[in-house]
């Protein structure tokens, strides 16, 4: 696996697992009840700022996708990574009015472990006038063995640009 020296070193370490721990202690987090579907699947926000967001979904039998193994449905990981990327975009220094996912690509490297919380760490690594780009990884605490990775693009609306009502 080749590694680009000058291209986003922090994110490179994030994407490759790297040598540093993937997750520092983040506490219990807060149920994301402001987004009804996120609240419904038990998604928690552990922190967002500086273009980074950390979210999680604790294991729950209602989220099982394969009844024979008890593994959570891929759709849960999709929802977690989508939301994490969106939260990272909203956590950029610029003031944004809203974001909407344009597209989302997810690679599933291994099934999430039964009974374990899945965490997502997302980073918005580039923002233009109307589009933001984010990447994210899904993993279990203390493990370098990633569950999934994601790349997403969002259409954004900047707050300052909105001068007319109903635009």
């Amino acid at each position: 696996m080749s590694r680009q020296e000058n291209d986003e070193p922090q994110l490179g370490a994030l994407m490759l697992g790297g040598t540093q721990p993937l997750l520092e202690p983040v506490g219990e987090g807060e149920l994301m009840s402001g987004l009804p579907f996120s609240g419904e699947i038990g998604m928690r926000l552990h922190g967002a700022g500086g273009s980074v967001a950390i979210l999680s979904v604790p294991y729950d039998e209602r989220l099982i996708g394969d009844p024979q193994t008890g593994v959570m449905h891929g759709g849960v990981v999709t929802a977690l990574l989508d939301t994490a990327c969106g939260a990272a975009v909203m956590a950029v220094p610029e003031k944004l009015e809203s974001t909407a996912t344009l597209d989302l690509r997810i690679d599933y490297m291994r099934p999430a472990s039964v009974g374990q919380t899945v965490f997502a760490r997302a980073e918005c690594y580039r923002i233009t006038r109307s589009v933001a780009f984010a990447r994210a990884v899904a993993f279990h605490e203390g493990s370098d063995d990633l569950v999934a990775s994601a790349a997403a693009a969002f259409v954004i609306e900047r707050s300052a640009k909105r001068t007319k009502a109903g635009g």
Binding site: F37, S38, I41, R62, H73, T78, T83, A100, D103, I106
Partner: protein, 167 residues
């Protein structure tokens, strides 16, 4: 007449098996996804409810709910094709399926979701097309729409790993 009765019984078996297969997955039940059969084509329905919303102000479906719906549709299409083939074999196979002995679900390798339009506060539908069904990997396209079939709200492309032979 006897032939017709036999055919009707076979159709009823298929509907019962499809419903049982759907209900066997807890995450399908959580979202409330249902499947209808028309010939060999499956149509998924996601009845709207507040718990699926991402942005309560619009309101709009959560991107994670839409993404999950697409992924559920893809996996169910693949699983149903396997179940359907077993029902066709008749005898012990059909009996096992009727008793709930479903094949192992395929695993998602990667997916790309394109979000084309905001999902509104109404029911959504989806259909999957198997573009390639190999021994190990299947490639699917899935489209979700609301009131107009030709105005999809989201599309998914994905690769799925089929369960091992004789597994």
């Amino acid at each position: 007449m006897a032939e017709t009765n036999h055919q009707m019984a076979r159709e009823a078996d298929r509907d019962a098996a499809l419903s049982a297969l759907t209900q066997t997955v807890p995450y399908n039940r959580l979202l409330g996804v249902r499947f209808e059969r028309l010939g060999d084509e499956l149509t998924a329905r996601l009845p709207f409810r507040q718990g699926l919303v991402g942005n309560p102000l619009l309101p709009a479906l959560h991107g994670g709910a839409t993404g999950s719906f697409l992924e559920i549709t893809a996996l169910m299409q693949l699983a149903w094709d396997m179940v359907s083939a077993e029902i066709d074999k008749g005898g012990a196979w059909a009996k096992a399926v009727a008793e709930g002995a479903f094949p192992v679900f395929p695993k998602t390798v990667d997916i790309t979701v394109d979000y084309l339009r905001s999902g509104r506060a109404r029911d959504s539908f989806a259909r999957a097309r198997v573009q390639k069904s190999g021994r190990r990997v299947a490639h699917l396209h899935v489209e979700a729409w609301q009131e107009e079939r030709l105005r999809p709200i989201a599309m998914l492309r994905g690769n799925f790993l089929m369960p091992g032979q004789g597994g």
